[in-house]
């Protein structure tokens, strides 16, 4: 520990959220700095790039009011860190980890780098435990397991937040285990913030929740820190304190926009739609922090929420997320318009780790087959629906008509459960009931013995 502090009064340029400091040779990449304005105000910044004699600093709270004459920067000598301890539970923090609930700061048990370190793939433990969310389309068809990262792909105006709150309310892990929630919000409106506060309070989850909130009016650069603070807290709770942590990050779209802002301020060559070429890697450093570690009790399960601009699943934000995360829950506007809640469009939805959490001894041994059958039957019945729109119902065969009925019942009953909390048994029983609309010879994705045993048509 050195007592020497480096101060530079040599800001030579300011551009968007960045300031350029000459001669800051003692600084290192990723180091935090304090920007002191002539008014006495202090802001946080971080060194993004070092060039011969020039450091590029991003300022968290924005660059308004900074000048090149009297403002100065002080090197903090360390990278971005937050203090963590069990006292964090029940508290609200701002987007870069300072208390935002008017109570005094926590006494940290450790100070951890918010960037974290990659988990050694050889140290990871395979996710294997089913989390019952009480939502049929998730439990039955896209099962969530501990240590998974499963985003919700939403659209403007679709109830992603409601679904996230419902998962928080209903999520069950085996009794007696320590369970907590870390909530990271980037650029959310005060209405959304109220909604989540209420939801946590109503479900009694507030004592086991840590929240990091960057509001829509807060500076965009701070959003780059919020998910990292949240995940650092989550890792601490999970791998030091043995908690099963459910992390909810909303809205990743605001995060990516902040990333783009920095990229263009740095005059980088933009990738698709102006987003930086390294966005995949950057998102991976967030999403990949979910998981389980051998020999540690806890787990980090991540549910990021993102808004697909114009409901476009090929938009870079959704696309790159989908390539990193282990599946996705996609919300559908047509279902929402029909008044079906939760409006999960099952066809594009997927859980890659589903097989690790289902089957004999976990859920049911026919679970995989039944889920596949529901999928293929629903896909087929959607085709039939399209066909019937063109040629009319008279042109349809009897089989086609049964498929049409299947689609309606599936959407109305299986998907549209409303606020109900369904156990996995109820979900699977319902699945059989709906499959039984079809003749048993159609159910070739399920093994014959199970069809004989459970088919009720």
């Amino acid at each position: 520990m050195t007592l020497l502090t480096y101060e530079y009064q040599s800001i030579t340029g300011i551009s968007g959220p960045l300031i350029f400091v000459e001669g800051a040779a003692a600084g290192s990449l990723g180091e935090m700095v304090e920007v002191c304005l002539s008014t006495g105000e202090k802001r946080k910044g971080q060194i993004l790039q070092m060039m011969e004699g020039l450091a590029v600093v991003q300022v968290l709270e924005g660059t308004s009011g900074i000048d090149t004459v009297s403002s100065k920067i002080i090197l903090k000598g360390e990278t971005a860190k937050i203090g963590v301890s069990l006292d964090m539970l029940g508290r609200f923090f701002n987007g870069h980890g300072e208390p935002a609930d008017g109570i005094s700061p926590i006494i940290p048990a450790a100070r951890l780098e918010i960037n974290g370190l990659p988990i050694n793939p050889a140290a990871r433990d395979k996710p294997a435990h089913f989390i019952q969310t009480g939502i049929s389309t998730i439990d039955g068809l896209n099962t969530l397991v501990r240590g998974q990262k499963l985003p919700i792909f939403s659209g403007a105006g679709l109830p992603a937040n409601e679904i996230a709150a419902q998962i928080v309310r209903q999520a069950k892990v085996a009794g007696g285990e320590k369970f907590s929630i870390v909530f990271g919000a980037m650029g959310i409106t005060s209405r959304e913030a109220f909604f989540f506060k209420n939801a946590f309070e109503e479900s009694g989850a507030v004592e086991r929740t840590v929240a990091f909130i960057n509001m829509a009016e807060d500076p965009a650069i701070e959003r780059l820190f919020t998910p990292r603070c949240a995940l650092t807290a989550a890792e601490y709770l999970a791998f030091e304190k043995g908690h099963h942590v459910l992390v909810i990050l909303t809205d990743m779209t605001s995060y990516c926009e902040a990333l783009r802002e920095i990229g263009s301020a740095r005059e980088e060559i933009p990738g698709r739609r102006g987003y930086p070429g390294y966005m995949y890697t950057d998102l991976a450093t967030i999403y990949e922090r979910a998981g389980r570690i051998k020999g540690k009790e806890g787990s980090v399960t991540l549910i990021p929420i993102l808004t697909m601009p114009d409901d476009d699943i090929t938009h870079p934000i959704a696309d790159l997320s989908g390539y990193i995360t282990e599946g996705q829950i996609v919300l559908s506007r047509p279902l929402f318009r029909k008044g079906i809640y939760p409006p999960v469009d099952v066809l594009p939805s997927l859980s890659r780790l589903m097989n690790l959490g289902i089957g004999r001894e976990k859920t049911r041994d026919y679970h995989r087959g039944a889920a596949d059958q529901l999928y293929s039957a629903y896909a087929k019945s959607r085709d039939t629906r399209r066909l019937s729109a063109i040629i009319g119902e008279e042109g349809l065969t009897d089989m086609d008509k049964r498929y049409l009925k299947f689609a309606d019942e599936f959407e109305k009953i299986f998907v549209g459960q409303g606020d109900a909390d369904r156990s996995i048994d109820e979900t699977l029983k319902l699945g059989w009931k709906i499959l039984s609309i079809l003749p048993s010879t159609e159910l070739i994705r399920i093994r014959e013995e199970f069809v004989e045993k459970y088919y009720t048509g």
């Binding site: 040779a25 990449l29 060039m51 050694n120 050889a122 140290a123 990871r124 066909l387």
Partner: protein, 584 residues
């Protein structure tokens, strides 16, 4: 080679600019800062060089020392590779975990392959003449693989071994020996040890390239029958997210008939790697009855690990694959996914402020990709005893938005011999493998026809072509039905549609979770085709005689046809004969 020392003058992401590096050589390694982070020189401008650094650069500052010894980036090859899991710069991850805990810290250096001693069984004696590629002895690395110790081939870019080692054996040692100790000493004093180093960016030499004439069997019907890849060929598997690229790669790693599997997880998910690491020791290779991990080498650089190492990882994989090829093994090199490699290349290129080509990728993307894919091949190995070995590359491609017109897919397509195009719509229906039979192709099919005629059956090619035609016709009819409805079709056409459905549902769809069907022998594949085509012909005859289509489809034979998948491979031929008899 003398050491050159310089000082950092700039840091941006994974690239570091260094001054005072007069005399540094392109594509050699350098150690950066007090942690000695590993980097590679990728550009030289006078005394200033640019390094791509393989570890996290956070914390580096101006003026810190950089040291280069003029060695290229090499990989260490020898016993101990199998069952191992390494990161993008060949650090053993298990040893790293024991040394530095569950999270990867930077600046940790580890000795590779030196932690164990091996029993060396010599195959040469004093006075024998040896030249590059000759087998001097073997190490029984595990129950499956006999690790051949070969005289290192000459390497142009490595100062270690320019002309290659050749001469007369002076001394042979046997017994338990560590990797770096000599096992054979030649009269000129040069020593051959259990391990050798090889520069990753340079393909290992061989005698000659052989034309691919045998298929790389995967046990997956759509690949083996419809779009086969030859041993020593390349296949690419592009698909949007969720179409099952990783499942295809992993299924092939499990079931493909190959002596060695080198699996490179390039910029993908950590949990997937964990799945391989935990499953492969338990999964049994059907042909040997021993765990799959014994024939597998894993190179892992997950998406959150340093970007530059991701760029290097596929070359490490290729070098390891070629090393086993040189022993005379057939090797499958699985890359998941090449797009992440290309993105790493793009990121480094953009940090160096190079002029971008299409979609920001550097203009040399296609050249580099071509160089990489050309490391596949079936070859006659160096050395005196005639060995042939092969490297087959199966590479996943992740096109943004599932749009195949993007540069990485297009550049891959120009060099790949087989395309297995994955389709989002099929994946949505949970039809796996979600291979689009209309878009996919295999350029090897014609040269493999002879093999099918000889090894499978005389009518194998004919049946395959029938299946393809049926799929084609079904596609046409489907478009017609969209307009006029199914009822308006003639019975024969409806039959074709139904059979098309059976081909898709029963023959092309193959579930990795169905034990009886996850691996399908060539025999079962052939008899399945035969049953389907025979049913089609018999049904057509019956319709001609005035039997209603509904009656044919409701017959018990049709149901048995639909359930054909569940019959295990070993009894399939017999059961298929029963089904066919029933059709009569």
């Amino acid at each position: 080679m003398q050491t050159i020392k310089g000082a950092i003058s700039g840091v941006s992401g994974s690239t570091v600019t260094v001054k005072g590096m007069d005399g540094a050589r392109m594509h050699t390694v350098a150690f950066v800062g007090k942690d000695g982070l590993l980097g590679e020189i990728v550009r030289i401008h006078g005394e200033q060089v640019v390094l791509q650094v393989y570890e996290d650069t956070t914390g580096l500052s101006i003026g810190k020392e950089v040291v280069s010894c003029g060695k290229p980036l090499t990989v260490r090859l020898g016993p101990g590779l199998l069952s191992g899991v390494f990161d993008g710069i060949q650090r053993p991850l298990e040893a790293l975990r024991l040394k530095s805990g569950a999270f990867i810290k930077k600046g940790v250096s580890l000795d590779v392959l030196l932690d164990k001693k091996w029993e060396f069984i010599p195959r040469v004696k004093k006075g024998d003449a040896v030249e590059p590629g000759d087998v001097v002895g073997i190490v029984r690395e595990n129950q499956i693989i006999e690790h051949k110790i070969i005289v290192p081939p000459p390497s142009v870019s490595s100062p270690l071994n320019k002309g290659g080692i050749r001469g007369v054996v002076k001394e042979v040692r046997k017994g338990v020996i560590a990797g770096d100790e000599p096992v054979v000493i030649l009269e000129d004093g040069s020593a051959i040890s259990l391990y050798q180093e090889w520069p990753v960016r340079q393909p290992r030499p061989f005698k000659e390239r052989l034309s691919p004439n045998a298929p790389f069997l995967t046990g997956q019907r759509i690949f083996d029958v419809l779009f086969p890849v030859a041993e020593g060929g390349t296949a690419i598997v592009p698909g949007g997210f969720g179409t099952g690229k990783t499942i295809v790669e992993q299924t092939l790693a499990r079931y493909a008939k190959s002596d060695i599997i080198v699996y490179v997880g390039c910029g993908e998910r950590g949990n997937e790697m964990t799945e391989i690491l935990t499953d492969f020791p338990k999964l049994i290779d059907p042909s040997t009855g021993l765990p799959l991990i014994l024939r597998t080498v894993l190179i892992v650089n997950t998406s959150n690990m340093p970007v530059a190492a991701r760029e290097a990882s596929i070359f490490i994989g290729a070098t390891v694959a070629e090393y086993f090829r040189d022993m005379g093994y057939s090797v499958a090199l699985m890359i998941d996914s090449i797009s992440r490699w290309a993105e790493a290349l793009r990121e480094i290129s953009s940090r160096m402020e190079e002029m971008p080509g299409e979609e920001g990728y550097p203009p040399y993307l296609a050249t580099r990709l071509g160089n990489f894919y050309e490391r596949a091949g079936k070859v006659k190995c160096l050395g005196n005893n005639n060995r042939t070995g092969s490297v087959t590359i199966i590479s996943a491609v992740s096109p943004p938005g599932g749009d195949f017109s993007e540069p990485v897919t297009q550049a891959s397509l120009r060099v790949a011999g087989a395309l297995w195009a994955l389709d989002t719509d099929l994946a949505y229906r949970r039809h796996f493998p979600a291979v689009d039979w209309n878009k996919s192709f295999s350029l090897y099919y014609n040269s493999l026809k002879d093999w099918f005629l000889k090894e499978v059956a005389e009518d194998a090619v004919l049946l395959r072509d029938c299946i393809m035609k049926m799929l084609e016709r079904e596609g046409e009819l489907k478009e017609i039905v969209q307009v006029i409805g199914l009822e308006a079709l003639q019975d024969v056409d409806r039959l074709t549609m139904e059979l098309g459905r059976i081909v898709k549902e029963v023959f092309l769809r193959q579930s990795v979770f169905n034990e009886a069907d996850a691996f399908c022998t060539m025999e079962k594949q052939y008899w399945m085709m035969k049953c389907i085509i025979q049913f089609y012909n018999k049904a057509k005859d019956a319709i001609g005689k005035g039997v209603y289509l509904e009656k044919i489809l409701a017959s018990p034979v049709a149901t048995r046809l639909m359930r054909m998948q569940d019959i295990p491979s070993n009894v399939f031929k017999q059961r298929a004969r029963e089904i066919m008899r029933e059709m009569e």
